[in-house]
C-alpha cells in the first residue's frame, strides 16, 4: 500500500499548481513533462555522508540512499526523511533487510527557493545521508583585491564552473554603504560595460578614480534563485609602486658605486706597490762582481716609507745575491 503511494510520487508536478507547500508536507503531484527530473544516489559506507546538489531551476529530484547493515541482528529498520532537521510527514516506512541492505528512495519537487535546503535520509538512528540542495555557486572566489590605477581600466570577472549549469543571466552590483546598487550600462555607458558569455561574465570599468575602490557583487541568476559573489577593487595612484622602485634603484646605484670605488682603491694600492718595487729594482747597482765583499746594504732613500714585505724580500734577495757573487 505504502509502495503504491510512493509510485505516484514518482510522477512529475506541473508548474501551474497553486497550492503552496505548507510545513513539510509534500503536495500532490501531477504529471508535467516540461519539468526536469534528476536522480541522486548515495551508498552509505560509514555512519553518515553528505552530498551537494546544484539545482538551477525547478525540477523533480529523486534521492536514493542505500545502507548496508553491518552484522546487526535487527531485521527491520525505520527509514524516514528530514528537511532541514525536521521530519517530513508521511515519510516513515519500515524496511526489511534484504542481504543486509536497505534502500530508501523519494522524489521531491523542488519548486522554488524555499524547497532548497538540507534533505536527510535516515535509517533509524544508525545512519544518515545528507543532500544539500542549493543554487549553483560561483567558482574561484577571489579573496585578494584586484588592484588597478587611477585613469586606467579594469576588468572584473565571475564565472561558474564548466560542469555546473548555466545561469539565465548575470547582474552586477556595487556596494553603496550597506546596500547594493545595481550597475546598469544604460546610466553610464562610458564607465561600465557588462559582457555576459554564458557561464562567465565580465564587468569593464573605465576611467578609474579612487572612489571606485570597494566591493563589487556579481550575481548569477538561476530560475530558482541567485548566487552572489563579491570582488574587491582597489584603485591606487602610480606613486605607490614608485616608492619601492626608487628605493631599489638607489640601492643599485649605491652598490655599483661602492664596488667600483673599492676596486679603484685596490688597484691604486697595487699600482703604488708596483711602482715602489720598480724603483727598488732600478736603484740597485748594476755591476756586482767589482764590488768589495762587505757592502753596506742600506735601502735606497728613494723608496717610500711604507715598505711591504715584498720589497724587503726583494732587497734581501738582491743583497744576498751580491754577497754570494762577491
Amino acid at each position: 500500500m505504502m509502495q503504491a503511494s510512493w509510485m505516484l510520487l514518482l510522477l512529475a508536478w506541473g508548474g501551474h499548481a497553486n497550492t503552496k507547500t505548507v510545513g513539510q508536507t509534500l503536495p500532490p503531484v501531477e504529471p508535467d513533462v516540461h519539468l526536469l527530473a534528476d536522480v541522486r544516489s548515495v551508498v552509505l559506507q560509514g555512519k553518515s555522508h553528505t552530498d551537494k546538489v546544484d539545482v538551477p531551476g525547478p525540477m523533480n529530484l529523486t534521492l536514493q540512499c542505500t545502507w548496508t547493515a553491518n552484522g546487526n541482528k535487527t531485521l527491520n529498520v525505520t527509514g524516514y526523511w528530514l528537511k532541514d532537521g525536521r521530519d517530513i510527514d508521511n515519510s516513515h516506512v519500515t524496511l526489511r533487510l534484504e542481504n543486509q541492505q536497505v534502500h530508501l528512495k523519494r522524489t521531491f519537487l523542488i519548486k522554488n527557493e524555499e524547497s532548497l535546503g538540507r534533505y536527510s535520509c535516515m535509517f533509524g538512528n544508525e545512519a544518515k545521508a545528507d543532500f544539500i540542495l542549493a543554487v549553483p555557486h560561483i567558482s574561484d572566489v577571489r579573496d585578494k583585491p584586484v588592484v588597478s590605477y587611477v585613469g586606467d581600466s579594469v576588468v572584473l570577472a565571475c564565472k561558474v564552473d564548466d560542469r555546473k549549469p548555466e545561469p539565465k543571466t548575470w547582474l552586477w552590483f556595487r556596494a553603496n554603504g550597506t546596500d547594493k546598487e545595481q550597475i546598469t550600462t544604460v546610466a553610464e555607458p562610458q564607465k561600465y560595460q557588462i559582457k555576459n558569455a554564458g557561464k562567465a561574465t565580465k564587468l569593464h570599468v573605465h576611467n578609474l578614480t579612487r572612489d571606485d575602490s570597494g566591493l563589487f557583487y556579481c550575481a548569477a541568476v538561476f530560475t530558482i534563485g541567485t548566487a552572489v559573489s563579491h570582488l574587491e577593487l582597489k584603485v591606487i595612484t602610480i606613486y605607490e609602486p614608485l616608492k619601492p622602485f626608487v628605493t631599489i634603484v638607489l640601492e643599485v646605484l649605491i652598490l655599483v658605486t661602492a664596488i667600483l670605488l673599492f676596486e679603484r682603491g685596490q688597484s691604486k694600492k697595487s699600482q703604488v706597490q708596483e711602482a715602489s718595487e720598480k724603483e727598488v729594482a732600478n736603484a740597485e747597482p748594476p755591476a756586482t762582481n767589482a764590488e768589495p765583499p762587505a757592502i753596506n746594504v742600506e735601502p735606497p732613500t728613494s723608496t717610500s716609507s711604507a715598505t711591504p714585505s715584498g720589497e724587503s724580500n726583494g732587497l734581501e734577495k738582491s743583497s744576498s745575491a751580491r754577497q754570494r757573487k762577491s
Partner: protein
C-alpha cells in the same frame, strides 16, 4: 684525461680570491636569466583579463622571452669577445630594467611581446653568456664548483621570485609589479660591477696585436676578404663546428633540451589527473626547485673531485641517463607520496645536468672559444626548446594519456645520454691517436681538437719558454704557463 686546450689567455686563473665575488655576480645574473621567464607567469591571469586575450596568447610572452634569451647567444658572444664581460652584463641589466618599466605602461599584448619578450629576453641573453665566460676566466681548478654555484642561481631566484611576485601582484597589481621587477632586474648591473675584468690581454688589444702579426707574417699582399674573414673569426669562432667534441656535445644537448622542459610544464596537470588537488600538485614543482637548489653546488663539488674531474663528460652522460630514467619510471606512479619521491629525483637529475651543462662545454672548448661556442649552442638549442613542450602536449592531446609524454621525454634524454657516453669514448680514443701523431712538441700550438682555430692568437710574449704542450696530469686540466 680531458682533451681541452690549454688556457690560451696566458695567465693562471686565480681560482679564488675575488673569483668568489664573481661567482656571486654570476649567480645573480644567471638567476635572473632563468627564473624571470618562469616567474612572470604569475601575472598572466590578470594581464589576460585586462587585455581580453586568451591565456595561451599571454603565455607566449614567456616563450618569446626564453627564445630571445637563447637566440641572442651569438650576438652576446661576439660582444663579450670584443668588450669583456662587465660592460655587457651592465648593458643587459639596463635593457631588462628599462624594458620591464616600459612594459608596465603597455596597453597592448604586442607591446608586451616586444618589451618583455624581445628586449628583456636579449638583455638576459647578454647576462647569461657574459656570466659564464667570466667564470671560465677566473677559475680552472675549482671551475666545476664555481659553475655549480653560479648555476644554482636559477632555482634560488625562482624560489625567491615566485612568492615575491605573488605578493607584489596582491599589493600593486600587475603594472606596479612589473615596474618594481624592472628595478629589481637592475641588480644585474650590480652583478656586472662585481665582474672585474681579468687577463692582460683583452680582446680588442689582442685583435690589434694579432692583426699586426698577420700582416708581418703574411706580407702586405693580404686580400681584404681574408682580413675580413679573420676578423669574423675573431668575432665568433665558427671553427667550433669543425670540432668533433663540440658536435657530439651539441647533439647530446639538443636531445636533452627537447625532453627536459615538457615534464616540468605538465607535472601539475599529470598530478591533478591522478586525483591530486591543485595546491599539492603545484607543491611538487616547489619540491623539485628546492632540491635543485642544493644539488647544483653539490654536483659542482663532486665534479671537482680528483676522480670525476677528468671524466666529467661521462659524469654528464650519467646525469642525463639518470634524469631520463626518472621520467620513464614516472608513469608507474599513481599516488601522491610516490609523486613527491619522483619530484625529488627529478630535481636531483635536473640539477645535476644543469650544473654540468656549461662546465662540460668549457672543458671541451677552453677559454678562448667558449664564448662563441656557448652562443652557438644556445641559438641552436632554441629549436628543441620551443618544439619540446608543444610536441609533448600534442601527444597528450592525441592519446589522452600523460604516460606517452613521459615515455617520449625519458627515451629521448636517455638516448642522448648514452649517445654522449659512447661518442665521448670514441672522441677521447681518436684524440689519443692524434696526439700520438703530433710531430714537434715545441711548437706553440693549441693541443686538442679544432685545428682550424687561428693559432696566431697566442702571442708569444704571454707564454713562458716552458713547453707549450701541456702535460696531462691525471685529475686536472693541462698545466698552464
Amino acid at each position: 684525461m680531458s682533451p681541452a686546450p690549454t688556457n690560451e689567455l696566458g695567465f693562471k686563473p686565480p681560482d679564488g680570491g675575488w673569483g668568489w665575488m664573481v661567482v656571486i655576480g654570476a649567480h645573480i645574473s644567471i638567476g635572473f636569466a632563468y627564473a624571470t621567464p618562469k616567474a612572470l607567469s604569475i601575472f598572466f591571469n590578470d594581464i589576460q583579463l585586462d587585455f581580453q586575450a586568451s591565456y595561451s596568447d599571454i603565455a607566449w610572452i614567456s616563450s618569446i622571452m626564453l627564445a630571445a634569451m637563447y637566440a641572442g647567444g651569438p650576438v652576446s658572444s661576439a660582444l663579450v669577445n670584443r668588450y669583456g664581460s662587465r660592460p655587457i652584463v651592465i648593458l643587459g641589466g639596463l635593457m631588462c630594467g628599462a624594458s620591464m618599466v616600459a612594459a608596465s605602461f603597455g596597453n597592448s599584448i604586442i607591446f608586451l611581446y616586444l618589451c618583455i619578450g624581445v628586449i628583456a629576453g636579449c638583455g638576459l641573453a647578454l647576462n647569461l653568456n657574459a656570466s659564464l665566460t667570466i667564470i671560465s676566466k677566473y677559475f680552472l681548478d675549482k671551475r666545476p664548483l664555481a659553475n655549480g654555484l653560479a648555476m644554482a642561481g636559477s632555482p634560488v631566484f625562482l624560489c625567491f621570485l615566485a612568492p615575491l611576485n605573488q605578493y607584489l601582484l596582491d599589493k600593486f597589481g600587475w603594472r606596479g609589479s612589473l615596474l618594481i621587477i624592472g628595478a629589481l632586474m637592475l641588480n644585474s648591473c650590480v652583478a656586472g660591477a662585481l665582474m672585474r675584468p681579468i687577463g692582460s690581454c683583452n680582446a680588442s688589444s689582442c685583435a690589434q696585436q694579432q692583426k699586426s702579426e698577420e700582416q708581418s707574417n703574411n706580407g702586405n699582399t693580404k686580400k681584404w676578404k681574408q682580413i675580413c674573414g679573420s676578423r669574423a673569426k675573431k668575432i665568433l669562432a665558427w671553427s667550433v663546428f669543425k670540432d668533433r667534441g663540440f658536435l657530439i656535445y651539441l647533439i647530446g644537448n639538443i636531445m636533452f633540451i627537447f625532453g627536459a622542459y615538457a615534464p616540468i610544464v605538465f607535472l601539475s596537470a599529470y598530478a591533478v589527473s591522478h586525483g591530486v588537488d591543485q595546491y599539492s600538485a603545484a607543491y611538487l614543482l616547489s619540491i623539485m626547485g628546492f632540491v635543485d637548489m642544493f644539488v647544483r653546488p653539490g654536483t659542482g663539488l663532486i665534479a671537482n673531485s680528483k676522480w670525476i674531474r677528468p671524466r666529467v663528460q661521462y659524469f654528464f652522460s650519467f646525469a642525463m641517463v639518470f634524469n631520463g630514467t626518472c621520467h620513464l619510471l614516472c608513469p608507474l606512479i599513481k599516488n601522491y607520496t610516490f609523486l613527491v619521491v619522483y619530484a625529488v629525483f627529478f630535481g636531483v637529475g635536473f640539477g645535476m645536468v644543469f650544473a654540468l651543462i656549461f662546465e662540460c662545454l668549457m672543458d671541451l672548448m677552453g677559454n678562448q672559444r667558449f664564448p662563441s661556442a656557448v652562443g652557438l649552442v644556445t641559438i641552436i638549442e632554441c629549436v628543441p626548446m620551443l618544439l619540446g613542450p608543444p610536441t609533448a602536449g600534442l601527444l597528450v592531446d592525441i592519446f589522452g594519456d600523460y604516460k606517452y609524454l613521459f615515455f617520449l621525454c625519458g627515451t629521448v634524454i636517455v638516448t642522448g645520454g648514452i649517445f654522449l657516453f659512447i661518442m665521448n669514448i670514441y672522441n677521447y680514443h681518436m684524440l689519443e691517436k692524434e696526439r700520438g701523431r703530433q710531430p714537434n712538441p715545441n711548437h706553440i700550438q693549441v693541443v686538442g681538437q679544432g685545428q682550424g682555430e687561428m693559432l696566431n692568437i697566442l702571442n708569444h710574449s704571454f707564454l713562458t719558454k716552458e713547453s707549450a704542450v701541456p702535460e696531462i696530469k691525471d685529475g686536472s686540466e693541462p698545466a698552464m704557463c
